[in-house]
């Protein structure tokens, strides 16, 4: 009976409480929908950023994979190249091939005779055209004395005009290509002497001040050397460290310190590794500046924590029963690890290594510190020669004012992103293909 008042109170309140819930319900559902909208909006915003980033880069840069070429009839004048007919590579190499190009262009427009007109006419062709002729002649001296129809690169301003980046309605004073030059280019187009061809030079050449001669070949090679050094050092070191920490290390203070230290090192800003490289490798050990070897060493130290952490996770996922079975048939601990644990953990370790390499490939801040931002035209032949890296090349070109460099920067970014996509794709594929659920 003592419950009675409580029951009464409850039944008396109950419609009131329900009423209050009902009254608030609509507002609560509204809040629910609003909250959900916020979530959806932020997700869409994130996706939008991805889209915006890629569209802006691709739309800026896809044209760089084509280069405007001009068809010219080049007269390989023996008088000019090798007057005595010696066939000596030195004499041929020092001949004035630019003049061959100038003569060929001049023949197309014989009405241009004054010096200023000729000069502005010559500026339609790239400075690399003569260089190309020189290489061609050196490779095949039989060309001397013949007449050839060749496609040669146009100047970057002509290239930009053909690609539609230069507005013809802009007053002549505020564009770099003059009205007269535009008329010549139109005449060349009408004559079907201008064509856009796939830009192989972009992948072959090193850096240059002339946009149409600047390529990412040197940067790719520098990045390649750096990654080779990095993987050769960081993978064995990382795996060895992970094996020690997971399989052999005693549980004590020192190992705790090691673990905390590795986790922290993974979050240290990359530029600090650059300072380390500058102070230790270059100033203390006296290794050459701008060399991919030093870059590789710095990137090794930077990626090592990532690889150690990934390798430890891979080793941890190998079930203890495998170890116990091996130990049970009489293998030593070392044999157990090297014959069973490491092979089973290998896919996971390699996945971690590839992801670490992808990070290293995109890294540029530490490389600025060790002098890999020099202007280097030569494509490096060894890891000790000065070189730049692909992301650093992007940084260098991003500073150049010419419109043609904007396009090249975006194209270099696309190449870099393609490499990264392939590497990450390979890592995902490997994880899917070799992942074992125990």
């Amino acid at each position: 009976m003592s419950d009675q008042p409580d029951m009464n109170e409850f039944s008396a309140r109950s419609p009131d409480t329900l009423e209050r819930v009902r009254v608030g319900l609509a507002a609560r559902y509204r809040r629910e929908r609003r909250f959900r909208m916020y979530g959806l909006m932020s997700t869409c915003l994130g996706l939008l950023f991805v889209l915006f980033l890629f569209v802006s880069i691709i739309s800026n840069g896809y044209t760089a994979f084509w280069q405007t070429q001009v068809r010219l009839e080049i007269d390989f004048d023996a008088q000019l190249i090798d007057p005595d007919g010696t066939g000596d590579a030195k004499i041929i190499g020092s001949a004035n091939f630019d003049k061959l190009v100038r003569t060929a262009v001049g023949q197309l427009f014989p009405e241009v005779t004054d010096r200023r007109g000729r000069r502005s006419l010559n500026r339609l062709m790239s400075a690399g055209a003569g260089f190309e002729l020189r290489e061609m002649t050196l490779a095949d001296p039989a060309l001397i004395g013949t007449r050839q129809t060749l496609w040669l690169p146009a100047d970057d301003e002509v290239d930009m005009l053909i690609k539609g980046y230069i507005d013809r309605d802009v007053p002549e004073g505020s564009r770099r290509i003059k009205d007269q030059q535009i008329l010549w280019v139109d005449a060349l187009i009408a004559d079907e002497r201008i064509e856009r061809q796939f830009n192989t030079d972009f992948f072959r050449l090193g850096d240059s001040r002339e946009p149409e001669l600047a390529g990412i070949g040197g940067a790719i090679k520098g990045s390649f050397f750096m990654l080779v050094v990095t993987i050769a050092l960081s993978f064995p070191l990382g795996v060895a460290a992970a094996v020690y920490l997971e399989e052999f290390a005693p549980k004590n203070r020192w190992v705790d310190v090691l673990e905390v230290n590795i986790n922290n090192l993974a979050a240290v800003p990359s530029i600090v590794f650059g300072l380390l490289g500058l102070a230790v490798f270059i100033n203390f050990f006296g290794l050459p500046r701008s060399a991919p070897l030093v870059g590789g060493l710095v990137l090794t130290l930077m990626t090592l924590p990532t690889i150690i952490i990934a390798s430890r996770a891979a080793i941890k996922s190998v079930p203890p029963s495998v170890r116990q079975a091996a130990l049970g048939v009489g293998a030593s601990q070392m044999q157990t690890v090297f014959h069973h644990v490491i092979p089973l953990a290998m896919p996971g370790m390699l996945t971690g290594a590839i992801i670490g390499m992808a990070r290293a490939l995109g890294e540029s801040a530490p490389l600025l510190m060790i002098g890999m931002i020099a202007f280097i035209v030569e494509v490096p032949g060894t890891p000790l020669e000065p070189s730049t890296a692909l992301p650093v090349q992007i940084y260098l070109w991003a500073d150049s004012p010419e419109r043609a460099f904007v396009e090249r920067t975006s194209a270099a970014i696309m190449v870099l992103l393609a490499f990264l996509l392939v590497m990450n794709g390979a890592a995902i594929w490997m994880r899917k293909r070799f992942e074992r659920r125990w």
């Binding site: 909250f35 802006s56 460290a241 094996v243 600090v272 801040a365 600025l368």
Partner: protein, 462 residues
């Protein structure tokens, strides 16, 4: 002899030692039939001999690499005529460079001509003879080592244990590389920073309000005061990082909530990898994007609103940095939200709460420590981020809280001070290391605290 040939010879010797040792162990045991008399498998005897052959040689090469250069150079310097020898340190360095360049067959400045040429010849000949001595020594050491191991081969020799012991030492050494890296960072940065603080007082650096690192070459030069007050840099760094966090934190967190609580698994399977792409894009690409697209865009928007937006405004750099950090925040928050036990959600639903009420009143409070930890890690990334600010933020130190103006950051200054040719004893160069020290300490503290918080949080629900 080239170093690479030397290494090849060493490897060849080790391989031969391995085969000899292996065969010898079988012979010692008394042929294949009685192989079980051996303590270890025959290959371990092979490894044993190979290690005795190769390891001393490798150590020798390392020793030679570290000391030979300075030894040879000191001999060369001793041979120089006294007027060259008694030059001050820096000029002597130039002479040494000349000698090296000449020895390497490059052209040099012909000023000191004959003396340098003589020295260069001496340098080359010393180097050549040092190489021959090293080659001879290495081969001798290798032979002696394998001969010693050879004589010790007996059935009772515990070859496997010894080989495994050496492998274990190798593993331990590999795991100390990480510690050595930290120590190396700390020492190298600290060492140069201390030299900087000898020139510029510590308090001036930490609390000074003007930053203009160009030191005057002439006394009457304008605008080159050589002031090293880092407060404007810290303020600029904080401003840009704050903008980045204001962008990244809500978007990242809401994305994580949406993906883990609302989205169907099919949507999640598509959206998550796409957002991860943002995390994998190199920072130089973001920098280019900020400088080329976002900066001008903000300028246009500002012009429409009648605002004056600097082309290298803090807003542009911070915005793009925020975009970069979104996937970082969202994946960390995602982990943390998923770690909240389902029972807590069910309890809240059982009481009649809607999904958003559950998230706001149950899940977020429970996940808060983890989210804060993730946020701290994100802040540390924003502070240490370099390429975006180098390409999109300003160079001039500017003490302002207005996000539409250009500010500079710690990392930008490190890069501008250290890029290009520099002397290593000017305050300007050393200042970069002092900034690096501050950067390292601040990010380290943030990381330690954040990792600790995240770990504590994980333990709570495990």
């Amino acid at each position: 002899m080239q170093l690479s040939t030397l290494l090849l010879i060493l490897i060849a010797m080790a391989v031969i030692s391995f085969m000899l040792g292996r065969r010898r162990s079988i012979a010692v045991a008394g042929g294949y039939g009685s192989i079980r008399k051996l303590h270890s498998l025959p290959k371990y005897y092979g490894y044993y001999v190979a290690i005795w052959c190769g390891l001393p040689g490798v150590l020798l090469i390392l020793l030679w690499l570290s000391v030979s250069e300075s030894l040879i150079m000191s001999q060369v310097i001793a041979s120089l005529p006294s007027e060259l020898r008694e030059l001050p340190e820096s000029q002597l360095g130039l002479v040494v460079n000349d000698i090296k360049n000449l020895a390497a067959g490059q052209f040099i400045n012909e000023q000191r001509g004959a003396d340098v040429a003589v020295a260069a010849e001496l340098y080359s000949s010393l180097q050549a003879s040092a190489r021959w001595i090293l080659s001879g020594l290495m081969i001798a050491v290798g032979l002696v080592g394998s001969a010693y191991a050879w004589t010790r081969l007996q059935p009772r020799l515990r070859a496997r244990n010894q080989v495994e012991g050496i492998i274990k030492v190798g593993l331990i050494l590999a795991s100390t590389v990480a510690i050595l890296t930290t120590v190396g960072i700390l020492l190298s940065v600290l060492f140069e920073a201390v030299r900087f603080f000898q020139k510029v007082p510590f308090t001036d650096f930490l609390f000074g309000l003007t930053w203009s690192p160009q030191t005057a070459l002439r006394a009457d030069q304008v605008g080159s005061s050589g002031a090293f007050g880092a407060i404007p840099l810290f303020a600029g760094t904080l401003l840009i990082s704050a903008i980045a966090m204001v962008v990244a934190m809500p978007i990242g967190l809401m994305t994580a909530i949406f993906l883990s609580e609302y989205a169907s698994s099919r949507v999640r399977a598509w959206v998550k990898p796409i957002l991860e792409i943002l995390a994998g894009v190199p920072t130089v690409v973001y920098g280019y994007f900020a400088a080329l697209t976002v900066g001008p865009l903000l300028g246009d928007i500002g012009a429409l609103l009648g605002l004056n937006v600097a082309s290298e405004s803090a807003l542009g750099a911070g915005l793009v940095m925020g975009i970069m950090i979104i996937p970082f925040v969202s994946s960390l928050s995602d982990d943390v939200i998923n770690a909240v036990p389902q029972a807590m959600r069910d309890g809240s639903y059982g009481l009649g709460a809607t999904q958003s009420e559950t998230i706001k009143h149950v899940i977020l409070p429970a996940a808060l420590p983890g989210i804060v930890g993730g946020g701290l890690l994100a802040v540390s990334r924003a502070i240490g981020e370099t390429m975006i600010v180098v390409m999109a933020a300003g160079l001039a130190a500017n003490l302002t809280a207005n996000p539409l103006e250009a500010v500079t950051t710690v990392t930008v200054q490190i890069v501008t001070l250290l890029v290009g040719d520099q002397e290593f004893d000017s305050a300007k160069t050393l200042a970069a290391f002092a900034l690096g020290l501050v950067l390292f300490i601040v990010t380290l503290l943030l990381n330690v605290v954040a990792l600790q918080v995240v770990r504590k949080y994980r333990e709570q629900y495990e």
